[in-house]
Amino acid sequence: MRTLSLYQEGNSIIHKIDPITKIIFVLITILIPIIMGTLNSAFAFLLISLTLVIIAGVIKKVLPIVGFTSIILVTVIIIQGLYYFNNRTPFFAIGTVVFYKEGLLYALEIILRIYSIINSVSLLMFTTKPSDLVEALVKKGLSPRIGYVFSSVLQIIPQMMSTVDTIIDAQRSRGMEVEGSFSRRIRAFIPLIGPAVISSLIDTKERAMALEVRAFNSRYKKTFLNEGTTFKYADVMQVSLISILIISIVLRFVH
C-alpha cells in the first residue's frame, strides 16, 4: 500500500538510532537557540544537525526544502537589514538604501535557527520509517488509538489523492474550467472539494465499522507485532540531550 513518507533506506549510524532519541534532538534544536537567544548557539546547532544530515547521507534530499525556505529568508534579510528597530550602525549601502549591522545580524540569527530546524526535522523524517516512529511512541505510552490515527493519515492521503484525480477528470469532462479569471477559478473550488469531502466521509463510516468488528475498542493490553531492535545507547543519549536542555535553561537564567 502506498504511504506518504520521505523515509530513505540507509545503513548509516543515524538510521540505527531510535526514533525517540531523534524526536528529543528535534525538540532541543528548536528550543535551545530560542532559550539562549545567541548567535553562537544557533550556529552550533546548525553545524551539529548539518553534520548529522551529511553522515546520514540525506543531504541531497534536504536541499530542496532549504531552497524553498530560502526565498522567504531573503526577504527577512532585506526587511530586517533595512528596518530592524535596533538599527544604529550602517553596514553597507546600495545607492541611497542603507543596510544596518544590527538588522543583518538579527536576520542571520533567524536564518541559522530556521536552517537548523529544517536539518534536524529532516534528519528525523528521512532516516526513520513512519511505522517505527509511531510504534516507538506507542511503546513509550502514547495511546494506541492516537498511534492508529497517525499511521492512518499517512495511508489515507495517497488514497484520497487518487480519488481527487478521478474527481478532477470527471468535472473536467463536464466542462469545468480550472483556468481563467479569478472568479471562474474560485467557482471551480466547490465542485472539486465537495465530492472529495463527501466520498472521504462515507469511507470514514465504513472504516469505523471495519475497526469495530476487529475489536479496536478492546480494553486488553495491546501487544506488538514487531519486537523491534532496541538501540544500545538510547538511554545515555536521551539523558545527555535532556541534560543539555536543562543546562541551557539554567545558563539563561543565571546570566
Partner: protein, 200 residues
C-alpha cells in the same frame, strides 16, 4: 435527556477515524487551492469540518496532527504552527456548539473571529521564528511598511498576519459551512452530542 457538554466526549471509533480524514481534507483543500492558483491557503477545511461535526476536542486533535504530519512530510517549520491549528479547531468547535453557524452572515462573522484568534496565536510564533514576517508577499509588504515607520514589531507582525489570515479563514469557514450544511444526516448523526440517537 439534556444536551451533553461540548467538552465531554468519548473517543468513539467514529470520531477517531474522522481525524485522519480531516487531515486528508486539509491536504486536498491546499492542493486544490494551489491547482486553481487561488491566493488563499484553504488548508484547514478538514479541521473546521471535524470541529463542526464532532466538537472542539476532535477538531483540535485534527489540527495538531495535521501540522505534525505536514511538518514531517513536507515543511518542517509548519510543526511549530500546530498551536495555531489547535486554536482554530477549538474556536470553530466552540462557535458551532453555541450555535453561531446558523446562517451565512453568521458564518462570515465566525470566520472573522477564527481569523483573529489564528492571528493572535500565530503572531508570537512569527516573531520568534521569522522576526515577525509571514512569508506572504502582501502581508510582508505591510510589515516592511510599518517597520519602516518604527511601529513596534508586535503590531507590525500582527497586521502582517491579519492581512493573510482573516480573508483565508473567512473563505475556509464559508466553504466548510457550505459543505457541512450539505452533508446527509446519515453522516453527521453519528457525531452528534445530544445523547442517544433513536433509529427506526
Amino acid at each position: 435527556m439534556g444536551k451533553r457538554s461540548m467538552w465531554s466526549f468519548k473517543f468513539t471509533t467514529a470520531s477517531l477515524v474522522l481525524i485522519p480524514t480531516a487531515v486528508g481534507i486539509n491536504y486536498i483543500g491546499k492542493f486544490f487551492a494551489s491547482l486553481l492558483k487561488l491566493p488563499l491557503w484553504l488548508d484547514s477545511i478538514g479541521t473546521m469540518l471535524s470541529s463542526m461535526m464532532a466538537g472542539p476536542i476532535v477538531g483540535a486533535i485534527s489540527g495538531a496532527i495535521n501540522n505534525i504530519i505536514y511538518g514531517l512530510t513536507a515543511d518542517p517549520i509548519s510543526l511549530v504552527y500546530a498551536i495555531t491549528s489547535v486554536a482554530i479547531g477549538l474556536t470553530v468547535g466552540i462557535l458551532a456548539y453555541i450555535g453561531w453557524f446558523k446562517s451565512w452572515s453568521m458564518a462570515v462573522v465566525s470566520g472573522l473571529v477564527v481569523g483573529l484568534i489564528a492571528a493572535i496565536v500565530s503572531t508570537p510564533l512569527n516573531v520568534i521564528f521569522w522576526g515577525g514576517q509571514t512569508g506572504n508577499i502582501w502581508g510582508d509588504s505591510v510589515f516592511a511598511f510599518l517597520s519602516a515607520r518604527e511601529i513596534p514589531i508586535w503590531i507590525a507582525s500582527f497586521a502582517d498576519e491579519i492581512i493573510v489570515d482573516v480573508p483565508d479563514k473567512i473563505a475556509t469557514v464559508l466553504i466548510s459551512y457550505g459543505i457541512y450544511k450539505g452533508l446527509p444526516r446519515q453522516l453527521t448523526s453519528i457525531y452528534r452530542n445530544d445523547d442517544e440517537i433513536k433509529e427506526l
